[in-house]
């Protein structure tokens, strides 16, 4: 595992951050996750919230601490970071229906990109997407690994409502809308899986995990939607 150089940044007396080099990179993610795990293990009583983006880990403290003291403790902790904190990623299959009847907007997208339906489905289901973090909406995954051929500029005028379960593409990103939301992405698929069960957010995947989209037909889509729960299939990610 790469041990990247980091900088410490006190954003306020209550917020301290660790900054990695500013790029989107798998190695950076796993280094962040390992350090995060270590901080939570050692500081759980001091932390109000902890979360990260692509290259920044942010820690909100329960009480205002002298920033210098906090940064020094983090520096000491970082020195002791070792491979025992490395997270072990899982791979998950997530069913997605790409039928044009169900997802009429896919037609617009395919025309825009000059892609055939089968070749689009093949390219979209090929990667094991890397989950970097959740943001934007509760349960919205920032996934890495979208095929360059599938990138599309975001709509200049966002739609008022992208439906729950929509699988969409915007810029160089693809993701699933866990709840309805306005947005400027193109809907290219529909997942029947609920991220909310009995109103509660249930997220089986953790940052570092891999997500594979599995193309299903409309029958399977309807069957899964009717069921109250979904049996997640996962295995250790082998790369």
């Amino acid at each position: 595992m790469t041990h990247y150089p980091v900088r410490y940044f006190s954003l306020s007396p209550e917020i301290v951050e660790v900054h990695w080099p500013d790029r989107i990179e798998e190695g950076i993610l796993f280094d962040i996750l390992a350090f995060e795990k270590m901080i939570v293990d050692h500081w759980s009583d001091k932390i109000r919230s902890i979360h990260h983006g692509y290259h920044i880990l942010g820690i909100e403290l329960n009480e205002a601490l002298p920033a210098k003291h906090c940064v020094e403790s983090l520096r000491q902790l970082r020195k002791r970071q070792n491979s025992s904190y490395l997270v072990k990623p899982m791979e998950w299959r997530l069913p997605v229906c790409y039928d044009l009847d169900l997802v009429p907007e896919l037609e617009t997208y395919l025309k825009k990109k000059g892609l055939s339906h089968p070749s689009f489905v093949k390219k979209h289901t090929a990667p094991a997407y890397l989950l970097y973090f959740y943001g934007f909406l509760p349960g919205f995954m920032y996934l890495g690994g979208l095929d360059k051929d599938l990138h599309v500029p975001r709509k200049s005028r966002p739609d008022r409502k992208i439906e729950k379960g929509s699988v969409a593409i915007g810029g160089g990103q693809t993701g699933i809308y866990p709840m309805a939301s306005p947005g400027g992405w193109y809907q290219v698929g529909a997942s029947p899986v609920e991220f909310f069960q009995e109103g509660k957010l249930k997220l089986p995947f953790r940052p570092g995990d891999r997500i594979r989209f599995e193309a299903i037909g409309q029958d399977a889509y309807s069957r899964i939607r009717e069921k109250q729960s979904f049996e997640w299939e996962s295995k250790a990610y082998e790369g």
């Binding site: 954003l11 920044i56 959740y134």
Partner: protein, 273 residues
């Protein structure tokens, strides 16, 4: 608009769930203090008054924050005063003369499911995102009667210009010296674009900063958009954002800012943390 708010669900940021919690935390804590409740107890948060309530049981209440006239069965009550209501009483709260957010603590416990450790309303997380007309809010009555003390906490003032304590964000030093000075010396105007998520400021800060990859944001983060608009994130802010982070205002300043109406002014007192 009214919602239930408690200190929120900070612990769920890693799942992309906003913290939520009271816009004016100080007034919220005062309400619980006056009602002799624990600081984590949920209160009713009311935006700009204009509310009528009918009680189906006797209880005690207190309003704090931006409180307009409180009328109950022909009597007038002030902010920060313990009010005894009886079964079938009708209580009205008119819009406040200054400020925006009021809190109502009850001698008892509001009955709403805790989701991810909090009763704070948030779209998609809780069954309701705000109360609607004729909604019923259940409460479990408290066991102790709260005597109306002689000594009363004076109602707060809500000036339309406030100085906020701020710390430089990672992008602050990337701005030209001139822009840095403007941010520290000028007053900024609150726009009409205000919600529990954030408050946009009117003035433009010209910048040619490069695009960023998404990074954590928090309530109190001051973002700068490519078009030069500044947005101060509030309690329901997203957990990550792609805009430049210019400043971080402290927790007490978030409460002060929340009470300033559109067209009000703020100044940033920038210091090192």
């Amino acid at each position: 608009m009214s919602t239930l708010q408690d200190p929120g669900r900070a612990g769920s940021a890693a799942s992309g769930v906003p913290q939520s919690g009271p816009m004016d935390l100080d007034s919220f804590l005062l309400a619980n203090h006056l009602m002799r409740r624990e600081p984590e107890a949920a209160c009713l948060e009311i935006y700009m008054g204009g509310l009528e309530m009918i009680f189906s049981a006797s209880t005690q209440l207190v309003f704090t924050g931006a409180v307009g006239k409180v009328r109950c069965q022909g009597h007038l009550f002030a902010a920060n005063q313990v009010i005894n209501v009886r079964k079938n009483d009708r209580l009205t709260l008119s819009p406040p003369g200054a400020g925006q957010w009021a809190y109502m603590a009850i001698n008892g416990t509001f009955q709403a499911e805790k989701i991810l450790g909090s009763q704070s309303f948030y779209r998609g997380i809780t069954p309701e995102e705000k109360f609607s007309n004729n909604d019923q809010l259940d409460f479990m009555p408290g066991r102790r009667f709260i005597p109306d003390d002689q000594a009363r906490v004076k109602p707060q003032n809500f000036p339309e210009e406030q100085c906020l304590r701020a710390y430089p964000g990672p992008s602050f030093s990337l701005l030209p010296e001139k822009a840095q000075q403007i941010i520290q010396q000028h007053a900024f105007t609150l726009s009409n674009s205000q919600s529990r998520m954030g408050i946009q400021l009117e003035e433009i800060v010209d910048n040619d900063l490069k695009e960023l990859i998404s990074a954590p944001v928090y309530p109190g983060t001051v973002q700068l958009t490519p078009s030069g608009k500044m947005i101060v994130l509030m309690r329901d802010a997203q957990v990550t954002g792609g805009y430049h982070r210019l400043l971080q205002i402290d927790r007490a300043s978030i409460s002060k800012l929340a009470q300033i109406r559109p067209a009000g002014k703020i100044r940033f007192a920038v210091e090192t943390p």
